[in-house]
């Protein structure tokens, strides 16, 4: 796992230290009109002309640096962000905290809804409930966040389109829009009105996806001979579903949910930008857009760690749910 993290960080490091990128960096830090010779001398002064492995070693903290000795990622020195004029670690911590709240609410909405819908649909394959839920979940799973986000904003948070003008005219709401189109207020205080839309945007896609997987897994389990055994023992449907089917049916979705976590980061980038919520995704976009190498590297380290941690967690969850994988 450590090896994977190293490889991935080296890859990002190499990509951000490609010559054209460094040239851009020099020009943005110095002046945009620098000649090639000036760029070269700027790079030399800043130490970027040395070989990549040395730079990487210094960044990691395994090689000593001229000014501060061993001071790299491993020592907790993440460098200085050029965009925010702050230490990278501070920026990342703040944005992670913000994203953490978003994720928490997304999970709190998405997981129970998805599992309940999936189980309900898979319980009786082909029934009307199943077909209704299936159509709905396929629709949401097929809609990317940048579409559903825009649609939700138009429907609920626009002063000129969707529901809000109608409600406002009818005098049912005081404000001009039902929900707020931006979540920047949620940075200080989270309310239903400023947070529901970003949460819903991310959760919609995930809910559809997880519900599909739960349904498939539930339907498969319901066709197993041991469910027939339970039925022929005289057990009722509620008992069959809750005691016999659910645990076996949850193995697949739970692993997916945990694998979904890092994937949520992806949605977070779009949604945070759309709703101007200054979380991890927004920070990442800022760093990339402004060629903030230190911040970009910091973000990728955090992302990689998160992905690997959830992978490990999903293996553990799989093992807990499936006694066949336990030793003995």
């Amino acid at each position: 796992m450590l090896g994977t993290a190293l490889c991935l960080s080296l890859l990002v490091f190499w990509l951000t230290h490609l010559p054209p990128n460094l040239e851009k960096l020099a020009k943005s830090q110095g002046s945009a009109r620098m000649s090639d010779a000036e760029v070269a001398s700027w790079l030399e002064r800043s130490g970027f002309d040395r070989p990549l492995p040395v730079l990487y070693g210094e960044w990691l903290g395994v090689l000593p640096r001229a000014d501060c000795g061993h001071c790299g990622v491993m020592q907790g020195e993440w460098g200085q962000s050029t965009v925010f004029r702050q230490p990278v670690s501070a920026v990342i911590l703040r944005s992670l905290a913000a994203t953490g709240w978003l994720m928490l609410w997304v999970m709190a909405v998405m997981v129970p809804t998805a599992l309940a819908l999936g189980a309900l649909a898979g319980m009786r394959e082909g029934s009307r409930t199943d077909r209704t839920i299936s159509v709905a979940t396929i629709l949401t799973a097929a809609t990317p966040e940048y579409v559903s986000g825009v649609v939700l904003v138009a429907l609920f948070a626009s002063a000129t389109a969707g529901l809000s003008p109608l409600l406002h005219e009818a005098g049912w709401i005081e404000r001009r829009t039902l929900f707020q189109g931006t979540a920047s207020g949620a940075m200080t205080r989270i309310t239903f009105w400023n947070f529901a839309l970003p949460v819903a945007t991310i959760a919609l896609y995930g809910t559809g996806y997880i519900a599909r997987i739960t349904r498939a897994s539930m339907a498969e389990v319901m066709a197993q001979p041991y469910i027939r055994t339970a039925r022929l023992k005289g057990a009722g449907l509620a008992r069959i579903v809750l005691v016999h089917a659910l645990r076996n049916a949850l193995v697949a979705p739970v692993t997916v949910i945990l694998l979904q976590l890092p994937w949520l980061l992806n949605g977070v980038v779009i949604v945070e930008t759309l709703f101007a919520y200054k979380g991890f995704g927004w920070t990442l976009v800022q760093a990339a857009g402004n060629n903030d190498i230190a911040l970009l590297l910091g973000c990728s380290v955090v992302a990689v760690t998160l992905v690997l941690a959830t992978q490990a967690l999903s293996d553990l969850a799989y093992r807990a749910l499936n006694p066949r994988l336990r030793v003995g």
């Binding site: 082909g126 197993q224 001979p225 041991y226 027939r228 055994t229 339970a230 039925r231 022929l232 023992k233 005289g234 057990a235 009722g236 449907l237 008992r239 005691v243 016999h244 645990r247 076996n248 749910l321 499936n322 006694p323 066949r324 030793v327 003995g328």
Partner: protein, 684 residues
């Protein structure tokens, strides 16, 4: 006569498919008296499992009872709601299915699954339910109930799981127990143990049973009456001894002829041509007429044949049953084999698997040779290493030690992919499950053609096509089937394709790993016939891996008995099945079901074979050996006996001397002189 436990009258069950509704069971009338065991025999697709599900009220959304009544102890079951059925399921009628592993919840401990039954049907406390589970586990003779109750299903063997399933079915003391092929997935020895257990249960509790299966030999040992189902219709029913002594319906006769018989040495089972018609292809008159040797045009194929009463408690559905009484029931014996030189020589072959929990001794120091033109059967319980041995010989796995010589060339270090084409072609395999070993998305002709191209690449396209049609002819497949996909063929046809594919390179050695154990009895016989005929024509060597001793006795020239990776006995079939044999061979023979309800019951070796992870010291069989007491001291536990020659070509691994081994009379002579009367008809 007392009220029967279960009475079916005119039961018709249909299933809805895309092409309309088709009856799976038509106009079935049966009754099971208290304490009686009724056998319901039929091949796959005959509707026998549908009967069980109809009784349990669990036909699923596609199934429907169209007509007829199902009375359980006087109460009509047809049309009952799910809610009304619940107290009957489990407590009134319980069912045990075919696959014990699949029938138990993999993520629930055995104890919890057992305790659920009393919790559902009698309002008892957790502790009481647990105690009941304990008693139930003991009742089905599960060793160490405490440990079993705390286990998950994957931690137990197939035989133990089936005992658990039976314990679960019996917990609420049902009046009727439905057994749907309860032993099909199990080894012979384990099967014998389960049948013995069922007999005891019947004696102790007087539970009535509906025993569903396709193996008549097995049913002979437990059923009082047998009903034969063909294509959804009852064709014959009679008390078991009568049915075996003088079957009336041509189909019953054919089934009995196709049955592997432990007493039929070197007489292969007689195949029954053709297949059972699908529900929507049933002919006008008698459904069996197209396959029946006695069918008369204009008589049998005109109108549905009525069920006739042939005697007290005997029915038959045949227009000509009075005319076709006598018929010889055994096949011609096989000609003596004229084996040639050795084509396969195996020496000191050993394969061990290192796993997280220790080393599995899969194959230990196995030596033998197979001769040209002979059938060498390799027998043993599951886990004895016979399939690993086949994989090693085929080059699908590498041995840790030992030599394999194939037509004189050493091949042990060459995996199948790196053997010269000629050697690969010379040895081919016929697999157990033809459905899994054919590519589901390519026409079968194409798949055989692919093998031909590989092995005879130099030939022209035209000559390859001629070879293909020759091969199809050889395995008796109509050439028109070549364009079909595997799923469009029946099990027997698929296995023939598998054989044709194996023969594409003119194989000198065919390794057949349980080639017929997934097939119905009548189809089995036909596939066996094909294999034997090929062997006669081509003088190929057949390595026949099987756990079915009856079949082995009928067709093998030589037999090798394996146990926990070691060879316990090898020799000519006539001798291995004769008076001088290893105690384990004896035990296997004793456990094989015999198609004779009057045969005496024989004790099967107790328990499951020990784990190959931790094989017993000394003789591997000593922990289950019935004759261990005759060997002085701890010799059996301490020292591995040598594989000693007791007669030319016949070697036995046992500490007992040949004379001592011979003392026990061969099993044929142990039969009682007078037929035993079945014990349980008294109740009705």
């Amino acid at each position: 006569m007392t009220e029967p436990v279960l009475r079916l009258e005119g039961l018709t069950v249909s299933f809805g498919t895309r092409r309309g509704r088709f009856p799976a069971v038509e106009d079935l009338s049966l009754a099971i008296a208290p304490g009686e065991v009724l056998g319901l025999v039929g091949e796959s697709g005959s509707g026998k499992s549908t009967v069980a599900l109809a009784v349990m009220g669990d036909l699923g959304p596609a199934g429907r009872i169209d007509r007829g009544s199902l009375r359980f102890g006087g109460r009509e079951l047809a049309g009952l709601s799910e809610r009304a059925l619940r107290p009957i399921r489990g407590a009134g009628i319980a069912m045990v299915g075919q696959e014990p592993m699949a029938a138990l919840n993999p993520s629930m401990r055995i104890g919890a699954q057992l305790a659920e039954v009393p919790r559902l049907h009698a309002r008892v406390s957790r502790a009481e339910a647990r105690a009941a589970a304990w008693r139930a586990a003991e009742e089905v003779r599960l060793p160490d109930p405490e440990r079993i109750l705390d286990s998950y299903p994957h931690q137990l063997s197939g035989g133990q799981l089936q005992r658990v399933a039976i314990a679960m079915a019996l917990m609420a003391r049902p009046r009727l127990l439905i057994l749907d092929e309860p032993t099909t997935a199990l080894d012979v020895t384990v099967e014998a143990g389960i049948v013995e257990l069922l007999r005891e249960i019947r004696q102790e509790h007087g539970t009535s049973m509906l025993f569903i299966g396709h193996n008549l030999a097995l049913m002979a040992g437990i059923c009082d009456r047998i009903a034969v189902l063909y294509s959804g219709r009852l064709v014959e029913s009679a008390p078991a001894p009568r049915l075996f002594a003088s079957p009336r319906h041509p189909y019953t006769r054919a089934l009995l002829r196709a049955l592997p018989r432990i007493e039929g040495a070197r007489r292969p089972p007689v195949p029954l041509a053709g297949g059972q018609p699908l529900p929507h292809e049933r002919p006008q008159g008698c459904a069996f007429a197209p396959r029946c040797g006695h069918a008369q045009g204009g008589r049998c194929d005109v109108a549905p044949v009525p069920l006739e009463t042939a005697g007290p408690d005997e029915t038959v559905r045949c227009l000509r049953w009075r005319e076709i009484r006598e018929q010889p029931i055994v096949a011609e014996p096989l000609p003596e084999a004229r084996p040639g030189p050795a084509v396969l020589e195996v020496e000191g072959l050993t394969r061990r698997f290192r796993t997280a929990r220790g080393t599995v001794h899969a194959v230990e120091d196995v030596s033998f040779s197979a001769l040209e033109g002979e059938t060498l059967a390799i027998v043993g319980e599951s886990g004895c290493g016979k399939s690993t041995l086949a994989r090693l010989i085929m080059g699908l796995d590498r041995p840790d030690a030992g030599r394999i010589r194939l037509t004189g060339v050493e091949v042990q270090d060459r995996p199948a992919g790196r053997r010269p084409a000629a050697l690969t072609a010379a040895m081919q395999m016929v697999f157990q499950n033809p459905a899994d070993t054919l590519n589901p998305s390519a026409p079968v002709g194409r798949q055989v053609m692919r093998a031909l191209e590989l092995f005879q690449g130099a030939s022209s396209a035209a000559s390859l096509r001629t070879r293909l049609s020759e091969l199809f002819g050889l395995v008796r497949l109509p050439e028109s089937l070549a364009a079909r996909m595997p799923r469009q063929l029946s099990g027997g046809q698929r296995q023939r394709v598998g054989i044709a594919r194996a023969l594409a390179g003119d194989a000198a050695i065919l390794v057949a790993d349980e080639p017929v154990s997934a097939l119905d009895a009548s189809v089995q016989a036909a596939v066996i016939e094909t294999l034997l005929e090929l062997q006669r024509i081509r003088r190929a060597t057949l390595l026949f891996i099987s756990h079915d001793l009856a079949l082995v006795r009928q067709i093998a020239d030589r037999v090798m008995v394996m146990y926990l990776g070691r060879v316990l006995e090898i020799g000519p079939a006539t001798q291995v099945f004769g008076p001088l044999a290893h105690p384990y061979t004896r035990a296997l023979l004793a456990a094989a079901p015999r198609s004779d309800p009057t045969a005496a019951l024989r004790p099967a070796p107790a328990g499951d074979p020990p784990s190959a992870l931790d094989p017993p010291s000394g003789c591997p069989f000593h922990t289950r050996c019935p004759r261990r007491a005759e060997v002085p001291g701890r010799l059996c536990a301490d020292r591995l006996p040598p594989l000693a020659e007791v007669a030319p070509g016949h070697a036995i691994r046992c500490h007992l001397s040949p004379e001592e081994l011979r003392k026990q009379p061969p099993d044929e002579e142990r039969r009682p002189a007078a037929p035993l009367t079945p014990s349980c008809r008294g109740a009705s």
